[in-house]
């Protein structure tokens, strides 16, 4: 009997704890982002935000919708697996609005980026010493970039 005699202050203490817990929960609900913890210890909404960033490279599938003729030329040659934007650069804007001029890539810098002879490159990869090979003549005089074999070119394009 005597142990319950002064139990009142224990209930008051419990009340204080409860009020503290409630305050914590309310503040937590107010300041923690709503999607925090949705998938783990981070803001779940961040995933959708990152996924919504704009594209700069349209992807060759998009290019080939309109430029199916080039895709066919390319598929027949050694550049079959070189995607359009590898040389032409990021063209998502051109894909969204075809009136935007994509510009022509500069063969003087472009071809040698891959094909300049270097012992660091794989032996099986076609390489040339550009000066010795062409003597300053632009590559696309003989090699049509979409199908670079000379037999396929039949002149320049």
């Amino acid at each position: 009997m005597s142990i319950f005699r002064d139990a009142g202050h224990l209930f008051r203490l419990a009340g204080v704890y409860l009020a503290g817990t409630l305050t914590f929960l309310v503040i937590r609900a107010a300041v923690v982002p709503h999607s925090f913890g949705q998938y783990g210890h981070y803001r779940g909404a961040a995933i959708a935000e990152i996924a919504a960033k704009p594209l700069h490279y349209a992807g060759h599938q998009t290019c080939e919708i309109c430029h199916s003729d080039i895709a066919r030329t390319k598929a027949a040659g050694m550049h079959a697996h070189v995607n359009c934007e590898a040389c032409h650069g990021p063209l998502a804007k051109h894909a969204a609005d075809p009136s935007i001029d994509p510009g022509k890539p500069d063969v003087a810098t472009l071809c040698v980026r891959c094909h300049a002879a270097s012992a660091a490159r794989p032996k099986s990869f076609p390489q040339v010493d550009a000066e010795q090979h062409a003597g300053g003549v632009p590559c696309n005089t003989c090699h049509q970039p979409h199908n670079p074999a000379i037999a396929a070119a039949g002149g320049s394009k």
């Binding site: 609900a29 959708a48 490279y57 995607n83 980026r113 270097s118 012992a119 660091a120």
Partner: protein, 244 residues
């Protein structure tokens, strides 16, 4: 029914919990992409890399990476035939404009190693974040919540591969997202899109039809720093022992 003070005290916490779940909302429905259906990684076929730097330029253009910082870069290794422990490594401007030509070295070898975030399944970078701003997504991509990041750079120090940096304008951590905005739309990453030789290939390890599975079964494949047990998901074919 009368609500006594006692009832109210019992009800309030329950109400607070319920209110919190209301605030959390329902997960966003994405009709074309199921996060749990993918587990992303990448395959790097070293014998195919020609060091053209297309991937570095594409990454900078696609992701607005500031000059002098890299989400992906290419290194050129030069190893004397007997001196595996001391490779000479260069990466001029991340290999963005390619590499100077070299003549054949009769006593050594040259090769290129493209680097990027290894999208580790057990990444040290996500473990050290004090605020939960970096994480691995349910589809296996290590991402940074740049609204939540406070730029303490713990993760930059924690990454064993040096793949993170503090963005000089935003002052928050930045890194390769494996072009998350592209792969969730069914496209490949910008670096893989422009790689002329197929040295880089995006891989979905949860897709049984992905060619990565046949490749892993039939080739000698390695990850970088396997001793760190980071669960790296960027697989290198024919990786030389000198590569750090």
């Amino acid at each position: 029914m009368n609500i006594t003070r006692r009832h109210l005290m019992l009800l309030l916490p329950a109400a607070a919990v319920a209110w919190e779940s209301v605030l959390a909302g329902t997960p966003e429905a994405s009709p074309n992409y199921t996060m749990t259906g993918h587990w992303w990684g990448m395959l790097i076929d070293i014998p195919k890399c020609i060091g053209c730097g297309n991937c570095v330029r594409a990454c900078q253009a696609e992701n607005d990476v500031p000059d002098g910082f890299f989400r992906t870069w290419v290194e050129r290794y030069h190893v004397d035939d007997w001196n595996l422990a001391n490779p000479q490594v260069i990466s001029p401007d991340g290999g963005k404009e390619g590499f100077p030509s070299v003549a054949e070295d009769p006593d050594g070898k040259y090769f290129f190693v493209p680097k990027l975030c290894n999208q580790c399944a057990d990444s040290p970078c996500t473990q050290v974040c004090p605020v939960g701003a970096t994480f691995i997504s349910p589809d296996g991509v290590v991402l940074v919540d740049q609204k939540y990041c406070m730029g303490c750079a713990y993760c930059v120090q924690a990454c064993p591969y040096g793949c993170r940096y503090i963005h000089p304008q935003k002052r928050v951590a930045d890194k390769c997202t494996l072009c998350y905005h592209r792969i969730t739309k069914g496209l490949t990453t910008a670096c893989c899109e422009v790689c002329p030789t197929g040295a880089r290939q995006l891989a979905d390890l949860k897709n049984p039809n992905d060619p990565i599975h046949a490749f892993l079964k039939t080739h000698s494949v390695q990850v970088l720093k396997p001793q760190m047990a980071t669960g790296a998901k960027v697989f290198y074919n024919q990786l030389d022992g000198s590569v750090r």
